[in-house]
Amino acid sequence: MNKDILNQLTADEQNAALKIVEAAETMQVSPTFRWDLETQLMEKYKTQRQPTQGWFTKFAGTLGWAFLAIGVLFLLSWTIRSLVPNLSAASNTTPMNSFEQNVRAGNICRGPLAVAHNYSVALTNQAKTGFITLDEQESIGELRSLVWSPDGKQLAIVGNTTGTGNIYLTDSTGSSLQPVLANSELGYLMDAAWSHDGQQLLTWSLQNNTIVHVMNTDGTGLTEIQLGLQMFGTPQFTPDGESIIFYGADSTSAGLFEVSLDNMQTRTISTMVEDESNYAWSPDGTRLAYIEMDRDLVKARIIVAEFEAGSQAVLATLPILKSGYSIPDSANLSWSPDGTSLIFDLGRSVTDRAIYLVHMDGTGLVKLADSVYAPALSADGDCLAYISNKQVFLLDLTSKNATPLFLADLPTGRSIADYRLDKLQWGAELVP
């Protein structure tokens, strides 16, 4: 096994790890399978290496099929219209089309939607009919995270090029990219957090995850702050700007921590928060919501804490039963713009996730959609954006029987990334 890994484990962990590795080493690839696979790969390899002989024939064939398909579709369409003459007129009045028209016209779901997928970043076009990939020049490098400024007008994008970190800013149109840090010596940068006045950015790198770096948005005034804890992800300033909260670990446990930036005083908020996207400040900055995964009681708890008063309440719980293929995890917790509800996704894999809405008035928890993830509420609160099967959809939250509106396919991206890096975030409305 990888000795570097073994050396980083405690003695107890090493013992357990060695048992697993011993079992893993009994898994041998059979010679028959190896032979079959190599034969298949050789066939495919030869096919890939063949020059483009006969391209005209292939092109003509494809064209023929395309014409045939168009003809059949035209005939089918004509038949349906003849049989149901009022169909097209009636469909224009359905709620879905009304929602779609309002979205495209910019009457609702205003503001750009940013998407992170496969290490790249894109913004919706103005008509919300597709995504415009930012960074065609690839100056940002491999995307790690993106976050809108508190006023929703600037997007901070964190990426890395061969291990050196970059932070760029762009506006709501994505028209230009301004470097804050380019090819920084800070190392592989992971996240950025905005100060509440939008004047400063905080970041951290894999090179040393016990310190954070704060700088002005023009890249000046770079300072280093020791945390005394390990940072794992998504730092956020507290509303008073004097501390940060983040998912990290002290010497005994991982969880959600608060560290004062003045005196490094540390407070453990919860050791049952298990992911960097499971906590969020309310829009007015008075409450902190977070999700605890209680594996012993097999429950997920959605908790809201009054930050100044120190009180907290459990808003809802969800069973996380140990059944099926592994047990679920939660992610992407965020508030509605009016602070009356919370939204998040929970599931066992990319194909087995659902989006939930929790009302702050204690009326409970609603499952909004199945087989979806990465929920994001628009600034006007009318629209829920989410990802399903590599496509982005919008759901009309003002209608009880809304049909999801297909927005666009996810951009192709740079290379394959885990679905947990897929994020959607709404910016502020464009002001002409």
Binding site: T10, K44, S349, S415
Partner: protein
Amino acid sequence: MTTLMNIKTQYPTMDDAHLAQQARTEAFAELYHRHLTSVFRYHLAHTGNTKDAEDLTSQTFMAALEGIDSYRGTGPYIAWLMGIASRTRLRHFRGSRPEVPLDAALQIPTPSLPTDKAAFQRLQLDQILGALKHISSDRAEALILCFFSELNFAEAGLVLGKSEAAVKMLISRGLQDLRTRTSLPLEVDYE
């Protein structure tokens, strides 16, 4: 004629990133030889079934061969390959086959071992794979990537979309879960 298999000898010392970036398709055979076992163990750990693991391993390498030109060299090749393996696995579990019962599954070939030892190993592997299904998916995935596929923390982090430190914590917690929440005996036998 150049074939996939005899290409192997042309790049004995070159690292993964250089192979994938500079030689593209021609270097695929070498990369295949280096990582076949990692990919196969990854799929077998998840499915607990040799036949499914072989199917998924085939699909992974077919997709990798098709897409090798899209590998940009911005991360380790093994992380890129295991990303494909992960997506292939998720597609497999979507729809009709959400779960393979372990007790009906394991058929691990261990021809060179005495029968009793092979049976013991099979039982132990069966127990470990069963236990992995009762801890959180993040932790199980981290354990499989690091201990079955032999990725380091940084490489596993790229596959999981987590920092290196976060992967280390997932491993620590995963090992703890396996010991405390399952009946898995993970103490080392001191002989």
